[in-house]
Subunit: 245 residues, 2 copies
DNA sequence: CGGCCCTTTGATTTGAGTCAATCGTGGTGG
DNA sequence: CCACCACGATTGACTCAAATCAAAGGGCCG
């Protein structure tokens, strides 16, 4: 099934976008495209980091187990994104598990090739540095969110991110088709499916959302944005009637 | 006051450790050492990232404000650590505020010098990449901790980290002098001073700690380590008598 | 000695997790 | 084609950890 892609399609985006011809062919020579079905594991936390992966199509979920047995969702990646580079660069086992959320095509770039490319192309190195730097910022952002924001605010933010096209969702007409189930959404928000469900339905009752098992329609993005604000602490309680004032 | 340091002392550690002579003198030429008093701001969140800083001595607190007005503690850095590199690399304003916790000496490396060094020394670039990659892992670790662990577990982990020499504490005899106040410890743990205080005193009652306003003595590190485990969910409730079973 | 700030302690509230039951949907086999 | 089953989603009731509000203590510095 996995026909030999040329990697040219990927070159339009991501950190490999502007490789000089020599390096580009080097990359194309050893990058191995691979098709995954939905819910397949690309690499697993704790295993040796043998390669960097570049998403060509589809959506990949990055998660991380805990000693306690449960998992935490670290992020979602889409086409053009590179995954596994951290472990490869730091020369440590993968710290996260990567798993497809839908049928995807992912290119595998062997560890040596990647390191070599980085060493020989200062520009690429700088670009990856930038990329990583931004990544740290994003994770820190998450940390702040988790610590200071209520579940309903974090949920609102997730919805906004989805609605704005970041994340595993696609606009089908006016509706936003979600490619993950409630549990995964809950994981992303950092809560339980039950609580997320309540929160979501509270928003429906306010007329901010339309909700379906696998699609969401944002009716009032402005209101959602207001809820996502740290200051707006109007509780958005579930099963709680209209808050008078 | 700030005598002209040669930067040679810093070269023994951190990412600049093994610079080739040429680059080393380039660095020494434009790195500007600066003494800070306790509680001084090195750079502030949101301001343009003009330089990278390398800590020569002292302790620096990295925090991040929220729209809501309160802050969150992102991390603590010690001698040899580099700060501000993320913003400089990503070419964005500083995302965090850096502030000394005690009198410190910090070298300022202008943005251009840093970028130039990185571009001309593939090895340095790779080392910084490694460094950043690890940093992302650490922040993610934090994220997991915040999400899955109880306050008493996170507090135990902080104590362990301090006791093991990571963080702003120094062994004075058998005691661990803490250079930050309760509020900052609370921020690090991701809780409030009140809750942290209760948690700490619960540990004292169990005979695991000795506690003083500014020093801590760990009497039973093994017990602390046990409490830090995700599974060990024996509540460690404050003001709660011996839990029978 | 007095005031101030940090810390501790107490009382109360509350957001969100947990446990458990029900519902709805989609898939399967008769 | 329809009854049934299984699984995810929802809803409800309850519990509990931790935040918040409020009020002392206690040490340090002027």
């Amino acid at each position: 099934m996995a026909a030999r892609f040329t990697c040219a399609g990927c070159n339009g985006r991501g950190v490999f976008a502007t490789l000089p011809p020599a390096q580009r062919s080097r990359l194309a020579g050893s990058a191995l495209p691979c098709s995954y079905r939905s819910r397949q594991t690309i690499f697993h936390e704790g295993t040796p980091s043998l390669a960097v992966h570049c998403i060509r199509s589809g959506t990949v979920k990055l998660s991380r187990g805990t000693a306690g047995g449960d998992e935490i969702l670290v992020g979602i990646r889409s086409p053009g994104d590179v995954i596994g580079h951290r472990a490869v660069l730091a020369d440590i086992p993968y710290g996260i598990t990567a798993e497809t959320l839908e049928p995807s095509v992912v290119c595998t770039i062997p560890r040596e090739t990647f390191i070599e490319l980085v060493l020989h192309d200062a520009d690429l190195a700088l670009r990856i540095l930038r990329h990583l730097a931004r990544e740290v910022c994003l994770v820190e952002e998450q940390l702040v969110e988790r610590t200071r924001l209520r579940v309903h605010q974090r949920a609102a933010r997730l919805l906004l991110r989805l609605a704005r096209g970041h994340g595993p969702a696609a606009w089908i007409g006016p509706r936003l088709e979600i490619t993950m189930n409630r549990e995964q959404m809950a994981l992303l928000v950092g809560t339980t499916p039950e609580t997320l469900s309540r929160t979501l339905h509270a928003l429906v009752e306010r007329g901010i959302l339309d909700l379906d098992r696998r699609a969401i329609r944002v009716r009032d993005e402005a209101a959602l944005a207001r809820l996502a604000e740290p200051r707006a602490s109007a509780p958005v309680r579930p099963t709680d009637g209209a808050t008078g004032s």
